[in-house]
């Protein structure tokens, strides 16, 4: 793609994305008094990650069977409180192992 066509797109993408991230974090500095809003903001991270993980994770490997193996391993390890890295690596290994099993069948 030519640079003259490319650069305006990248500038718009980067600017919009940055403004969305920057404005709330920089402008809203007063402590929040509403108990509802405080509770809402406490729950938001978990709600966002839940919606981003399911069902998308089932399509992340190109085969639902290998994804299911990865999810099962990740859920068990995460439930037991293992670290982010341990869970992520174990999930990848489980997917690789499941691919190996499927290839042998």
């Amino acid at each position: 793609m030519s640079w003259s066509a490319f650069l305006p797109y990248v500038a718009v993408m980067a600017l919009v994305t940055y403004l969305i991230r920057m404005l709330p974090l920089t402008l809203f500095r007063r402590p929040i008094r509403s108990r509802f809003v405080q509770s809402f903001l406490t729950y938001i991270p978990f709600a966002v990650l839940g919606a981003m993980t399911f069902p998308d994770v089932m399509y992340s490997t190109g085969d639902m069977r290998t994804a299911a193996a990865g999810v099962a391993v990740a859920v068990i390890l995460a439930w037991r409180g293992k670290s982010l890295l341990t869970v992520a690596v174990a999930a990848c290994l489980a997917v690789a192992a499941a691919q190996g099993v499927l290839m042998l069948l």
């Binding site: 797109y9 670290s83 690789a96």
Partner: protein, 234 residues
């Protein structure tokens, strides 16, 4: 080196590894679709967002208007606004306006999630460390994917695809196990997300909006049913 900075870097490593695989896929696709590797890297280095970049790619290649590009990015990335509001409460006094302007650039889903899960307030040294490793991972992964994407065997690439979700699960499950309100919020959000993916009509809504709708509805229901006792306690 400052101990908090080192801790941030350490906490950023799993994020960076997850990003490496996701951005590898982005770089591979971008170059396959007609960008140069330098253009792909430039997008990653200035945007640092997976869903927005993936959505922007076909728009620029298809010659869409800049207005459409802006609106698409706004919709998909609006969730960062909510995260910024939420994270604002966690920042300590070392995070002045300049520090906030800098950190805002890197407030991604994963960095936000890890920063939010820290006990108490977080400061600039920790956050600078926490944004550094993932930024490097994201940019480097795009470079590798753009330059050498076709070299890596398919089974390795598909196994890497799940890394980022394994990380998400490691963030949400331990607190969900301990606290019923969090369990309920996650369950509701996931249930809504499944509806938006599979029910006819609802599955027409764009992915950026789906995340916003599910998260806002589930967090609002959680706030109404289980108000937290004091600031930052979940």
């Amino acid at each position: 080196m400052n101990a908090e900075f080192r801790k941030g870097i350490r906490h950023g490593i799993p994020i960076a590894l997850g990003y490496l695989s996701v951005s590898f896929a982005f770089g591979m696709k971008a170059v396959g679709d007609g960008l140069t590797w330098l253009q792909a890297v430039l997008i990653s280095a200035t945007n640092l967002t997976s869903a927005g970049q993936m959505a922007g790619l076909p728009l620029m290649l298809g010659g869409a208007s800049l207005y459409e590009m802006a609106l698409t990015q706004l919709t998909i990335n609006l969730r960062y606004g909510l995260m910024g509001l939420s994270l604002g409460r966690k920042l300590d006094d070392s995070m002045g306006t300049l520090q906030r302007l800098i950190f805002s650039f890197a407030n991604t889903d994963e960095i936000f999630a890890v920063a939010s899960s820290q006990p108490g307030k977080v400061g600039k040294h920790y956050l600078y460390g926490l944004m550094l490793t993932p930024f490097l991972g994201w940019t480097l992964g795009t470079l590798l994917g753009g330059v050498a994407g076709t070299v890596l065997p398919a089974f390795v690439r598909s196994a890497l695809g799940i890394a980022i979700y394994g990380m998400f699960l490691a963030i949400i499950l331990p607190p969900a196990r301990e606290k019923k309100p969090i369990r309920a919020v996650v369950a509701l959000s996931v249930a809504l997300s499944l509806c938006f993916h599979y029910l006819p009509g609802l599955n027409q809504v764009s992915s950026g909006f789906v995340i916003i709708i599910c998260a806002v509805a589930a967090a609002a229901a959680g706030a109404a049913l289980f108000p937290v006792e004091e600031e930052g306690q979940a």
